[in-house]
Symmetry: D2
Subunit: 378 residues, 4 copies
Amino acid sequence: MKKPLLMTPGPTQVHEDVRQAMAKNITNPDLDQDFFEYYKETCNKLKKIFKTENEVLILSGEGILGLEAACASLIEPGDRVLCIENGIFGRGFKDFAEIYGAEVVCFEGDPRKAIDVKELKEFLDKDNDFKLATLVYCETPSGITNPVDEICPLLKEYNILSIVDSVSAIGGEPIEVDKWQMDIVLCGSQKCISAAPGLTFLSISEEAWNIMKNRKAPIASFYCNLALWENWYEEKWFPYTQSISDIYGLDCAVDRILKGDNYIERHRKNGEAVRKAITKAGLELYPLSGFSNTVTTMIVPEETTFEEINNHMLKEHNIMIAGAFDYLKDKVIRIGHMGENCYEEKLYITLKALDETFKTLGVEMKGSLQKHFVDEID
Amino acid sequence: MKKPLLMTPGPTQVHEDVRQAMAKNITNPDLDQDFFEYYKETCNKLKKIFKTENEVLILSGEGILGLEAACASLIEPGDRVLCIENGIFGRGFKDFAEIYGAEVVCFEGDPRKAIDVKELKEFLDKDNDFKLATLVYCETPSGITNPVDEICPLLKEYNILSIVDSVSAIGGEPIEVDKWQMDIVLCGSQKCISAAPGLTFLSISEEAWNIMKNRKAPIASFYCNLALWENWYEEKWFPYTQSISDIYGLDCAVDRILKGDNYIERHRKNGEAVRKAITKAGLELYPLSGFSNTVTTMIVPEETTFEEINNHMLKEHNIMIAGAFDYLKDKVIRIGHMGENCYEEKLYITLKALDETFKTLGVEMKGSLQKHFVDEID
Amino acid sequence: MKKPLLMTPGPTQVHEDVRQAMAKNITNPDLDQDFFEYYKETCNKLKKIFKTENEVLILSGEGILGLEAACASLIEPGDRVLCIENGIFGRGFKDFAEIYGAEVVCFEGDPRKAIDVKELKEFLDKDNDFKLATLVYCETPSGITNPVDEICPLLKEYNILSIVDSVSAIGGEPIEVDKWQMDIVLCGSQKCISAAPGLTFLSISEEAWNIMKNRKAPIASFYCNLALWENWYEEKWFPYTQSISDIYGLDCAVDRILKGDNYIERHRKNGEAVRKAITKAGLELYPLSGFSNTVTTMIVPEETTFEEINNHMLKEHNIMIAGAFDYLKDKVIRIGHMGENCYEEKLYITLKALDETFKTLGVEMKGSLQKHFVDEID
Amino acid sequence: MKKPLLMTPGPTQVHEDVRQAMAKNITNPDLDQDFFEYYKETCNKLKKIFKTENEVLILSGEGILGLEAACASLIEPGDRVLCIENGIFGRGFKDFAEIYGAEVVCFEGDPRKAIDVKELKEFLDKDNDFKLATLVYCETPSGITNPVDEICPLLKEYNILSIVDSVSAIGGEPIEVDKWQMDIVLCGSQKCISAAPGLTFLSISEEAWNIMKNRKAPIASFYCNLALWENWYEEKWFPYTQSISDIYGLDCAVDRILKGDNYIERHRKNGEAVRKAITKAGLELYPLSGFSNTVTTMIVPEETTFEEINNHMLKEHNIMIAGAFDYLKDKVIRIGHMGENCYEEKLYITLKALDETFKTLGVEMKGSLQKHFVDEID
């Protein structure tokens, strides 16, 4: 397989050190007592990124497993669940909640804007009898981040638990799980953390643990059952054999983040410069507000199609960008600037390649994306 | 972490080439069209090991995910399910079937013997109104293999589907999925395949696909929903981002098996020599029949305890063996001879270390395990 | 050790694939017949880069070993040797020739200019009784390349053999060993080839082999004796155990070059843009002619010192550039753009860091190095 | 290339950790001040193995470079040198001494026995006007170790310096450089140290340094000139760019030795058991005394040839053993049990393969090499 430069919104490039950490010799993670300490240590490092004292667990599976596990473990048949959504991922939460028997009510936001907290408050003033709410920090398909720092505390005022999909935000956008009173916050290894895909991890508040312990109906899953983990450390027992090699990689990726630069500032700076470059060139961003610093979504210029752009970028420049799917299919181009990809030099050559691509495809632009970027990044 | 020689019944040692394959640079497995071909190719290699024309899927998660996915996808509430069991893992299947609404009937075998096919036939002659049966090829905790080559065809005579946990058998014991008419056969990466833990893969018969397609009740899970994979290749779409690095490793591990020696004969030869060594030394095997060639389970000599043996082996010899759990806790010692661990020289030093350990702990033996092994292996 | 971005004129960054090639399991290179084929194949690939049909040998040692081996093997006591020099490396050749008994005559060029072929011709018209001449393709300390394409054919007109140090040129500058009638051309692994330091390789013309075979005095060295290699392939014998791991790395590095882009054009384009950026910023290049495309040497701005620049670049930007030594010590700054370092994005961030460094140290500049570079590289 | 199990007397297998250490990212070893500390630290670790306070240097080249460098740096034209020899390597020293102008006198020992110290003393009582003596600790081709612990102090009594080739001894046989008053002791990376080939390292006594400093004639080499290294640390300057990746590997290999088991005892035990197995089987060792613990040399049984044995071992067992060369060509088989290869389980399978090979080739043996080994190793 060719290995293009991955400027997609996840999986990102995985640093050589992280990949080599996965290649380390293994021990038996079920039986080696040292592994339980290692696992805990990695969880503790994740707590620093999440800014939380809540317990963090790492599950063997993709990000969506974390999301399903949260729903499966908290929701009982008949529970009223509020699905706060302004995009494809937010709306998808509804299906997961319904699988586990929830009666779901949706709060729909404008798909091109961040959730409006004022409107949400008005909604809640009318109907707030929800056990929990689901929401998405960064809507990866549209490149919109929602004000979870305001929404989660607001939900708490109405005594509503929150499950927050933060998969493409953590490691790029600010997060303060405790301060923002977030109950379950889930993330995946392959986005801003820049580890290989295969792991999901989530923080679980005391209140969320209590809900699980006091359920009436049993949790209708084993692999998605978070309650099984309650005493994993005390009992030195995992519900299944842990993905030790992937955890080696995750641990290394997390170390790179914690020991490295101010990654939130780096994402902010690069994200902003990319957006300004696009706007200055006369091209159109998809979001009207809530601009994500981890992925930029722009509307496909009318002179061409996503497929033409994508093929040209791959063949002529060996750079992979992304389109989207569902109602955004063929409408937008997405450039990921997450984790290992969120470096000025990578965006520099990506935008230079995009300049050439747009020029070849007859797209009219004011100036050059690359040069606008260079001017704006200072 | 120290890295002892892992002579446990999985995870096994992972060969350097397999670990380094996991360290290869990645592409985006959601978007890179080449990855769909790569994934398919790996599945095709697994088909050769499974000896099947059935579709094989690789899921991102531990072996138990495969087991749950099979139950979740095939079972509808109220379905009658036969749980054929003679050990901890077989019995555990009952719980999974019940989560998804099955009415489970158990056929209990002697825990120290392979399932008796004649008895099973008698049982079935009386009650055979089952949608499916669950069974375990190799009961890892007890070291007993069941005659799945006879059981599965027998079930077919009664029009009963089979879900067979072959996690610790495939790659060590003979398997003929098509010839033996097995419907869902599931395996994990970390046993005889000797890849890192984190993947499960399963073969699905045409009949099993049809059952899924003609369900009345929806499948009560997303992550465990096999039906979602129906057209993955045609649509170039996976239900979630694939664990590409783990699949790189699996592909390499499978290549090692397919291009290497006669691994089934190697497991047979080493397994047999280990058992004979134990018996000649006057020690007692746990199984009375159905001796597994991938794991040997012996009863803890009365002069000592598992904990003493285990600690001594780890501290003095840096070799990790295993005990068991549930009703076998503290009763047995298990030596894994699976995949990368199933080589004469590794068993040679393991048995030599065990000789010294038993001697130190005052266990009476006839001669030496190591020397009996050397004599028997010829 | 910290691992700064190495923008020095060698050793360069070594690509992960090359480093991992060094980590491959080894065979016995003295006894394994396959290794002789492997070594030959790597030599054949080098021939393609050298553009020669002459034999190429790889020696276990740094570049200077190749240079000494050429002198030791060709020179007999009393031989008249012409040392064509315009820099530190060219002058150093004199010492090597003298160790092996040569009577050396120097042709001195201007240290800031390429060797003037017309002047050399005038010199040779007066005195041309030389067995051989030594010269340097790229004077790494001053960043000057000499017109070896004209000099070597000119020497041949006077029947003078050439030994050409091409260590920092091959892999970046054009080379045509056969067309330019070069006798011994030597190179090292750690410059534009971007392998790890530790190997030197050289091409040897038929005439050079004949000189060695017809010597009167024995070669006064074993490790530097090229004549020992005469029948290495036929006899499947090396004078000493070969550095197999380093050769694995070299082979991979050479593959990257041969299968990659037009590397000579890439070096030309980047080298030129770096020089133009420096000139446009009002800073001074050290060379007045013969500008190297693999290393740029600029005069240290009067407002500061090399040490200040170097420390700031290392501490604030984690980028390592180089000064020089001998009469150039503290006078110049060198930026390597060789092999793996000769990519636009690396020079982009290096020049951006240099902008900030110069600004901090009070250096007056017209505009920005980085932006001039971005403008010029198009 | 196939990768057989290397049971040759060097290069040995290189441990994965050592190979991966070579794959680490590099810094510029000429310019990075930290590298000078790293190099020094590795030298200090080597001092512990050498058991010396003398300076240790690591040179970029194969073991023979160390040997030549010692001769080149210490010998002046006309010096009288005593070559103490009882084998191919000892005799070869003569040529090196002569290249650098020595008048060499040989003390010849029995090629099948260790040097007889009493005879040497008698020799020295008659003629002892030597500047230095050359000798070999372990004659790798014949598998004989010489009593350097007695010879070196004896030489000192006559005020004769010693250059000791310890390439295949250090890391396997006892060494006490200071206690035994050895002047230059040289070793290579690829024998008992089990690093990749490509480095040589040597300890240099105060007296040897003084000899170099007070030479009348200049040292007739650059690459072999040890005097250039005199102030490398103070001046932070190496005579040439160091092989940093190889040194990473060496450092890791040395760590493995220093942090591991009692490697001298391990070599003694395994070497002895191999020899006893051969003798008990009725086969003949080549040495009559001075049995090496790092390599065993046996006479080719009359029923067959080395080539037949070697081919069978390679093709049927994928194990590489060695023959020898010069006057031992086709006469002996050599089994290396050096460093990483000197483990019971590797010798177990090697001897088992040899049993099968000898049986197939019609060699008459008493019992089995493998079983004799198993009996003797206890």
